[in-house]
């Protein structure tokens, strides 16, 4: 009933519209890549390096090749030797990776692959491959790898580059300030944890065309890499994403795609490879482990005058998106506070650990953790409320980046803090925290907060464009072609809502084709929180174009001016009388029969500004001082996001980000032993939050239209993941009146802090 009324009113914007493909997903009929089976398809199994750093002295594949059913064995000796960067965003820099290399650089590095008639045969054959290593020095810690005399993991040394950004004069800040604090924070590598492991199918046909099915967040970046590696024109490479079972940044890079493509070309048969969870954890991508030193100078009233951050980012064994991660994280160092003197220095460092890449927040959760732990400390030192400290330092609308005077846009982080304070019931919870301390109770209550900032695409770094094709069918229904690979985050649904709202075509009359390099227009990729801001704008632009075409035809039919026509509920209606209208089916028919043309529009939207999204997060925890177990009780997230296009998807993004952030704060970390092996590469040991462990969540929005955003909207996907762990850590530290400067806050770490503070239960 509700949806019918809505369609008649055509008010899609701001509506709780379900995901367009939700029913297909609920019934299990939607097809993910691993559900696909092509005729004559082979199954592939990878052989992984068991040592952290070595030259492959010899690799004997004879036994494997002899096994009946084995169709190809691929190693560095018989694969394309082209260096590439798996991350589309960094495709032209740090080309450190190859399909297979004579050198392996981490435990879990690719060494060989077998394609066989069945997975069982491939697995058996993979075990028959014998390798002799000549082991090399290895580094698991970025600080050791970056020493001058460290053995180089790649030509050019282990420090990939030095990223420097400055504003003002920090030296002046140190002398002017009443106080200077300096601390070092350590963040672990974590696993994305998408429920669908990496998988890909390649099919190389008789015409020399390579088709790859992959749950890729970046189909065009993947195509560009495949085109380079195999020297194929892009017209001979097709990358299709049928459906993704979760990405979070982990599926941006081309990881399995080049391998299955190589095997398909060797066998002239389709080849599938699907990782199991262990392989997924040890061999794909991680969030960067970081060591961050932060020095902050501030006045007695709390005003921060200077801040200097030195970030050492563990890139792992290959570069992937590391350079962009460090640049992006550094850039946002200049976007949160009014601080005039700022210096950021970042070092992406190669080590012999799993490859770090993009992960929700793209370097910001780490930076935010350091900055917000420091804010908590400053407030304590000055004996002032952290909320007042935030209000004194956060940017306002009209403020600019101190490096270049580029405005932050319509930024309202202070409003988010003030709304959050009320929604969280800060004062009452603060009293509860104090009471639990005064009572010296076993379960200490703690509250903490943090403010995060994130971007809306990559404007200013590279052209940020999305293309859309809209094709009106003969019956007046519409087919949308969009390059977005919707990860479940609702980007495509947002685009459809916007197209429906503008063109007046009800959602149930709109279908879409997504993420196929052959049929959809170029799109930068499903990353950098650009879905709403850039993808939404592309939908808006194309829908406006379509509306003009529809009105042009309708004007002829109705014999009125096009500007007197309103599009609603699948019809073109004269604004002066609802009796005078024509349906979209009639418009399509008229275009065909009278004007002998299709109604089909295609448009490219290029982002023109970089808006910033802000979020204030508040957390209340209970800390068991006997066991060290932290239980999150309440979480409040208030986001400055311009305008909410779909409240339901927005809540889903925030709640999901809180799940992920709580894990980052309390339970998730890849544990790497002294031999470079991950010791918790199974979900039994790698703990993600379950339903019963989640706290109560309250969400609110600050909706002040952003310039350049579709209907004023800004991003939410990554921003919501940025401050979570920092808020949790501040709550735990405040509960114990202790300082813990690393994640995750495991019971052991918490007990250590309690012991250090001399607290008793």
């Amino acid at each position: 009933m509700e949806s019918k009324a809505r369609q008649e009113k055509n008010t899609e914007i701001g509506h709780r519209t379900p995901l367009y493909d939700a029913p297909l997903k609920a019934s299990g009929v939607i097809r993910y890549v691993d559900d696909m089976k092509l005729p004559r398809m082979l199954y592939a199994k990878m052989v992984w390096s068991t040592v952290p750093h070595a030259i492959i002295k010899s690799i004997d594949t004879e036994e494997a090749e002899k096994m009946p059913g084995v169709r190809a064995v691929c190693t560095w000796k018989n694969c394309r030797q082209v260096s590439y960067n798996s991350c589309g965003e960094d495709i032209d820099k740090f080309l450190t990776e190859r399909i297979f290399d004579q050198r392996v650089r981490f435990v879990g590095d690719r060494m060989a692959a077998v394609a066989a008639d069945t997975l069982e045969i491939a697995e058996k054959a993979a075990k028959l491959i014998k390798v002799e290593y000549q082991e090399l020095p290895f580094y698991l810690d970025a600080e050791l790898a970056m020493k001058d005399d460290a053995f180089p993991i790649h030509a050019g040394g282990n420090v990939a580059e030095t990223v420097c950004m400055n504003a003002g004069d920090v030296e002046k800040g140190w002398t002017e300030a009443d106080h200077v604090l300096e601390y070092t924070y350590k963040l672990p590598a974590v696993h994305h944890g998408a429920m669908e492991p990496h998988t890909a199918i390649a099919d190389y046909d008789a015409s020399g065309k390579l088709t790859v099915y992959s749950p890729s967040q970046d189909i065009f970046g993947c195509r560009a890499n495949l085109s380079r590696i195999f020297s194929l024109p892009m017209s001979k490479v097709r990358v299709v994403n049928p459906c993704i079972g979760g990405g979070f940044g982990g599926k941006i890079d081309a990881i399995l795609e080049p391998i299955v493509a190589q095997l398909a070309m060797m066998t002239l048969r389709p080849v599938k490879m699907t990782l199991n969870r262990r392989e997924e954890i040890i061999s794909t991508r991680t969030r960067h482990a970081m060591t961050i030193n932060l020095k902050t100078a501030f006045m007695n009233d709390g005003r921060i005058v200077a801040e200097q951050m030195t970030m050492i980012a563990n890139a792992g064994a290959y570069s992937a998106g590391t350079s962009s991660v460090v640049w992006a994280s550094g850039g946002k160092f200049f976007k949160k506070h009014k601080t005039p003197h700022l210096r950021f220095t970042g070092y992406p460092v190669f080590t012999n650990t799993p490859v770090a890449g993009a992960m929700r927040g793209f370097g910001s959760p780490q930076r935010c953790f350091a900055q917000e732990r420091q804010m908590n400390r400053i407030a304590k030192k000055l004996n002032m409320s952290v909320l007042d400290l935030q209000l004194m330092n956060l940017v306002d609308i009209g403020d600019c980046d101190a490096r270049n005077q580029v405005a932050h846009g319509r930024a309202f982080p202070k409003e988010a803090v003030l709304r959050g304070k009320v929604l969280f019931d800060w004062e009452e919870n603060l009293r509860e925290m104090k009471r639990s301390q005064e009572d010296n109770s076993r379960f200490r209550i703690g509250i903490g907060m943090a403010v995060g900032v994130h971007g809306n695409g990559v404007y200013g770094v590279m052209p940020d464009t999305s293309g859309i094709i809209l094709k009106l069918n003969e019956d007046g229904s519409l087919t949308v072609f969009t390059g977005y690979s919707d990860m479940g985050n609702g980007t495509v649904t947002t685009q459809l809502q916007i197209i429906s709202a503008v063109s007046g075509i009800p959602l149930n009359r709109i279908a879409c084709v997504t993420a196929d390099t052959e049929t959809t227009m170029w799109d930068l990729g499903n990353y950098s929180s650009r879905g709403t801001f850039v993808g939404g704008n592309a939908a808006l632009k194309a829908a406006e174009h379509l509306s003009d075409e529809l009105k042009r035809e309708a004007a002829e039919i109705l014999n009125i001016n096009a500007d007197e026509i309103v599009l609603e509920n699948g019809a073109a209606v004269w604004k002066d009388s609802r009796e005078r209208f024509t349906t979209l089916a009639d418009i399509a028919l008229h275009a065909k029969s009278v004007n002998q043309r299709d109604i089909c529009v295609s448009d490219t939207f290029a982002s023109q500004n970089l808006a910033l999204s802000y979020g204030a997060h508040f957390c209340k925890v209970s800390v068991d001082t006997e066991t060290g177990i932290v239980k999150p009780l309440l979480f409040v997230a208030v986001h400055d996001l311009g305008k909410v296009i779909n409240p339901m998807q927005t809540e889903g993004q925030i709640e999901g980000a809180i799940q992920m952030g709580l894990g980052y704060a309390l339970s998730e970390a890849l544990q790497i032993n002294e031999e470079g092996k991950i010791t918790n590469a199974i979900l039994k040991k790698y703990k993600m939050f379950h339903a019963a462990e989640m706290p109560e969540i309250r969400i609110a929005y600050v909706e002040n239209s952003e310039v350049g955003g579709p209907f004023g909207a800004k991003s939410i996907g990554e921003c919501s993941a940025v401050p979570v762990a920092a808020a949790v850590a501040n709550a735990v530290c405040n509960a114990l009146d202790a300082s813990i400067d690393r994640l995750p806050l495991t019971p052991d770490l918490v007990l250590e802090a309690i012991k250090f503070r001399g607290l008793s239960g």
Partner: protein, 158 residues
């Protein structure tokens, strides 16, 4: 030659050509092409491969084919023909309990299993009932609300 394993799959008696020690998950996906059963971990932790065996929720990755001999196995494909599925599916879609969707068939079967034993669950009961299923997208709230709504709308069906 060992005898083929027979069992009831989504209401139909079937005979599997696979060995008794094969994982039920692989048999369902590869031999019977029931790809609504998902593989997330193969260690019984994520619940994406959930099926109902004689009405009880089970991780099919931890069950050997031989163990379901002469028993009743229901996957999302079978359950999706029921009225109770319609109610759950609508609730999941309408409340956006579905994002990437990979965990959802398992979640829906976990909900069915829960509601069969407890048709009027509290928020706490639902969260406990989902203790074997991981979702990385939604943060679970929408899923919990969807199950609550389905329980209310489908009163009498469970």
């Amino acid at each position: 030659m060992a005898e083929n394993i027979r069992f009831v799959l989504n209401g139909e008696t079937v005979e599997s050509k696979s060995a008794a020690n094969e994982r039920l998950l692989d048999v369902l996906r590869d031999e019977f092409r029931l790809t609504g059963v998902k593989c997330g971990c193969r260690e019984g932790e994520c619940g994406a491969c959930s099926v109902l065996i004689d009405g009880q929720l089970a991780n099919s990755c931890l069950v050997a084919l031989g163990a379901v001999s002469d028993r009743d196995v229901e996957t999302i494909e079978g359950f999706s023909r029921s009225e109770r599925f319609e109610i759950l599916s609508d609730a999941f879609a309408d409340l956006s309990a579905v994002q990437c969707g990979f965990c959802i068939p398992g979640m829906v079967l976990a909900a069915e299993s829960l509601l069969r034993f407890n048709p009027n669950p509290t928020d706490h009961d639902i969260r406990e009932g989902l203790s074997g299923n991981i979702c990385r997208c939604t943060g679970y709230n929408a899923i919990v609300h969807a199950i609550q709504n389905a329980a209310e709308k489908g009163k009498g069906l469970w």
